[in-house]
Symmetry: C2
Subunit: 348 residues, 2 copies
């Protein structure tokens, strides 16, 4: 093939961004699909130019003005790996409005602005892919939208947040209290200084909203996903895992159960979708309960397939770069958006 | 969309064929992808017309001449669900030579005639899809070829044969001998009257050959896959599970291990692919060892993603129909063959 190369700009050079840049530079020609266009890395937007140069990123490609890359007519594809709401949201929206392809790992932006971004992409014919936003490198959105496209999904449930799973695993293994383990996880870099996005369940909610778009054809409102534990179960009426006590875990263990933060969306009898992210005492012998540490596992129950599961490392720069690069290859093959083949999402 | 419908003929109305026919008749319009052509079922080839009519298959679509459907210019897509070598092989080859799209669940034909069928499909531009040939309804070939396309695969291993896994599970659970359990499995319909295809490992070999095509870009010769157990481990120097004794299983259990028939292909240091299907004593606590009964599990170790796993029901008419119908939807969306995007396979 001798197609014109796809000119790619990467916004953000954190853990995932650095891996993506490294692969595009080192393995560029090996990444080309047999029926796709080759890639050319033309820009990298970073927050701190000096730090990026010191980290060995190619100085000639660096800029601290991501909006310039988005507006540049010589950039075909924007890879957004900055995270957070703004400026990522505006940059993605502007790229799609201009008809550029976008790959994003930003679960917050996709979950919170999904309906608008999908409408913009459909209007301009731009491609938006976001496999990396859920489950790190585990293929799950692609299989839902393509391999499992003939199914009617009944439910999706999984463990999709590594930080809370690490904390719950450590509490169970060591019999320690939530506060102790959280502090240790923060010290070790497994939890952020402000851990609320993880421990209150918001990160898992975002991933569940994205899974539900592919599984059920609807963009749920993140605010509608239940995150407050019941007062009389594990979690003591508080959001996410913030109310889970050593006693909750001991009580569960005495009954052969393990407490996990389970994200679940299910088709109710009236056709509506019920969604929650709650600490749940699972049979300790089940595959979901045995998903330890930073692993993720997502189970899809559907007709006619039955229950299939996808598991693996749910985070990390290298693993997540696999999904970002896979999306880039899909764009070079003109496979369309992550939702390609599915009808437009129903209104929220 | 108002594309011309894809005219589909189904060859074979066994467990899987009946489910596919039922879905095409009952859910036809629901199966249409937003960007794909609709389906029209135009023929069903069966062995016994009387039996098929009695089973409620639509009499007007039935024929006992599959070659006529393949030759019919009014048929666009052949869905081959007859199984076995001939006439399935000749029918698939003829359809591809005529430029028709083919969906097949036939692991024997794909594994044994893969190089020729791929060459024919590439020559005529025909599409050949075979997700259903491995792991029933579990999406694994599609994710390997698309979502994981940026990875270099190090190894693939899995439990891909339900019959042997059922027998080994029953031997371990009940402490019974191979011969006893096999006889019971045959009586219950879980094993065939001539069980050699399953118990000697040939079925798993076929699936491993197909997985390796997507993972490593080469069609292995099924005859080159090692199936003879080592003389001093479980399996006593015999093929597949035929030499596994109750004593092998008890010895493994005493060491915290479980005997499973593991299919594995791995990139050796010299770049060649080493492939085997062997009874293997796995740590009983591992996810692979805990894959019980008729479940399948396939683990892919690759760079940069790490290890990801796919699991679910590896057989059964309904589960397998999910993969067949998913391939039909992919054809209606013009996504190409299962290997689309990958380079042509290296010579055997």
């Amino acid at each position: 093939m001798s197609r014109a190369p796809l000119r790619v700009a990467v916004l953000g050079a954190g853990t995932v961004g650095r891996e993506v840049v490294r692969s595009l530079i080192e393995c560029g020609p090996d990444l080309v699909a047999a029926d796709g266009a080759p890639f050319e890395l033309v820009g990298i937007a970073v927050r701190d130019l000096g730090k990026a140069r010191a980290a060995g990123l190619p100085a000639g490609l660096l800029t601290d003005a991501p909006a310039h890359l988005v507006a540049d007519p010589d950039v075909d594809v924007i890879v957004e790996l900055m995270g957070g709401d703004e400026p990522a949201h505006t940059l993605i929206a502007a790229a799609l409005a201009a008809g550029k392809s976008v790959v994003s790992a930003n679960k917050h932006v996709i979950a919170h602005h999904g309906p608008d971004l999908e409408a913009t992409a459909r209007r301009t014919g731009a491609t938006l892919r976001f496999e990396a936003a859920v489950g790190g490198g585990i293929p799950v959105l692609g299989p839902l939208a393509t391999d499992l496209a003939a199914n009617r999904v009944i439910s999706i449930r999984g463990i999709v947040n590594g930080t809370t799973n690490y904390i719950l695993s450590a509490m169970a293994d060591e019999g320690r209290d939530y506060g102790d383990v959280l502090a240790a996880a923060q010290a070790a870099g497994y939890a952020e200084a402000d851990p609320s996005g993880d421990v209150e369940g918001h990160d898992a909610v975002n991933k569940l909203v994205i899974l539900a778009r592919l599984a059920f054809g609807i963009w749920l409102d993140p605010a509608d996903v239940v995150i407050t534990a019941s007062a009389d179960g594990p979690g003591a009426g508080r959001p996410g895992i913030t109310g889970v006590s050593a006693a909750d875990i001991a009580t569960a263990a005495a009954g052969g159960r393990t407490v996990k933060l389970v994200a679940e969306a299910r088709r109710a009898a009236d056709g509506s979708i019920e969604a929650s992210v709650l600490p749940t005492a699972l049979a300790s012998d089940s595959a979901l309960a045995r998903t330890a540490g930073v692993l993720n596992r997502i189970e899809v129950e559907a007709v006619p397939v039955g229950t299939v599961a996808f598991s693996g490392p749910g985070a990390g720069g290298a693993a997540t770069s696999s999904a970002v690069l896979g999306d880039l290859i899909a764009i070079s093959r003109e496979l369309g958006s992550t939702w390609a083949g599915l009808p437009p999402a129903a209104a929220r």
